[in-house]
């Protein structure tokens, strides 16, 4: 089961941990964290270019042979997200796009209507769409029906580290999904990532939990192990929960 690759559209990945590059103190710290995480797919944001403002993140990811997942972070409408995705495809020569349309700055929660609208347009335009969404089982199905290659429900709002606030909804989403489900946002520590996998998610996407940890490299390593452990446990089939004790030693 561990050998099974994650398949998103036409892309196959051995690692089930997708890392976001936001929040790292500098590129050296980011590089060590990315290597420790074992990730094969990493997000970048699209921003206005200026002459001196080359961040070097592209060169780093190319050197590490990590596939790029551009996002539409910062977009507030379907129209903005579609244009940003098209620019990302042109700039980075990839049809992969992490679609995110934020409703407002305080919560950064996904706007469900704009997200679905943008997803339909981007799928029609040939993109491999990974859609960031609320932990809404109905919307998750609608995004899948719209042709998204992966659906990415949040555990909690971006950057909060609050973990998975509604595990049952995540299980509901997983139970009906025909495309990979990636738990995206809200992860605070390794146990959150393990739980996501135990609930049946196919992968985990996180950034802040690693990049803003006191020791990003060590936390990246923890997340890598957590994703593997959670997936193993899911495959192993956990025991059912009981109210009363059940002796694990034989009666004398």
């Amino acid at each position: 089961m561990l050998d099974e690759q994650l398949v998103i559209g036409e892309y196959k990945l051995a690692s089930r941990l997708i890392i976001g590059t936001g929040g790292a103190a500098n590129l050296a710290v980011l590089e060590r964290a990315l290597v420790a995480s074992g990730t094969e797919l990493t997000t970048v944001a699209m921003r206005r270019a200026d002459a001196e403002g080359r961040s070097g993140v592209l060169e780093l990811l190319r050197r590490l042979d990590i596939r790029l997942l551009p996002n539409t972070a910062g977009c507030r409408s379907a129209a903005e997200a579609v244009l940003t995705a098209r620019l990302a495809r042109e700039a980075l020569e990839t049809d992969l796009i992490k679609l995110e349309v934020h409703a407002d700055e305080r919560t950064l929660l996904p706007d469900p209507l704009e997200t679905l609208d943008a997803a339909e347009q981007l799928v029609a335009d040939g993109f491999t769409v990974l859609a960031y969404t609320n932990d809404d089982p109905v919307l998750a199905l609608r995004l899948e029906e719209a042709g998204c290659a992966a659906v990415m429900p949040l555990g909690a709002p971006i950057g909060t580290g609050l973990g998975i606030r509604n595990p049952h909804n995540i299980e509901l989403i997983v139970s009906r999904a025909g495309v990979p489900i990636v738990l995206d946002a809200g992860i605070g520590t390794a146990s959150d990532a393990a739980l996501a996998m135990e609930l049946g998610c196919d992968a985990v996407l996180l950034s802040t939990a690693v990049t803003r940890a006191q020791d990003p490299e060590r936390m990246a390593s923890a997340m890598r192990s957590a994703v593997l452990a959670g997936r193993l446990a899911r495959g192993a089939g956990r025991i059912s929960q009981r109210f009363w004790a059940q002796a694990s030693s034989p009666p004398r």
Partner: protein, 70 residues
């Protein structure tokens, strides 16, 4: 001196010689070509067309690149 056209680049008004192409603008700005994309009035200009598309006066240009994020 060649006539100038005023265009909006990433929100700032700039002047370029009349007839400047997208490729010419990128060279003047020093943005480089690798890893960037250009939208002209809300439409993506394909990389292969950069040396042909002339920037019209009053155009609104967005030049984007990838940065750490997400």
């Amino acid at each position: 001196m060649a006539a100038q056209v005023s265009v909006q680049v990433n929100g700032d008004w700039r002047d370029f010689p009349d007839g400047t192409t997208v490729a010419g603008m990128l060279a003047t700005l020093g943005t480089g070509q690798r890893g960037v994309a250009v939208a002209l009035d809300g439409q993506v200009v394909r990389r292969g067309e950069w040396s042909e598309v002339v920037i019209p006066a009053g155009a609104r240009l967005e030049i984007l690149t990838a940065v750490q994020g997400g």
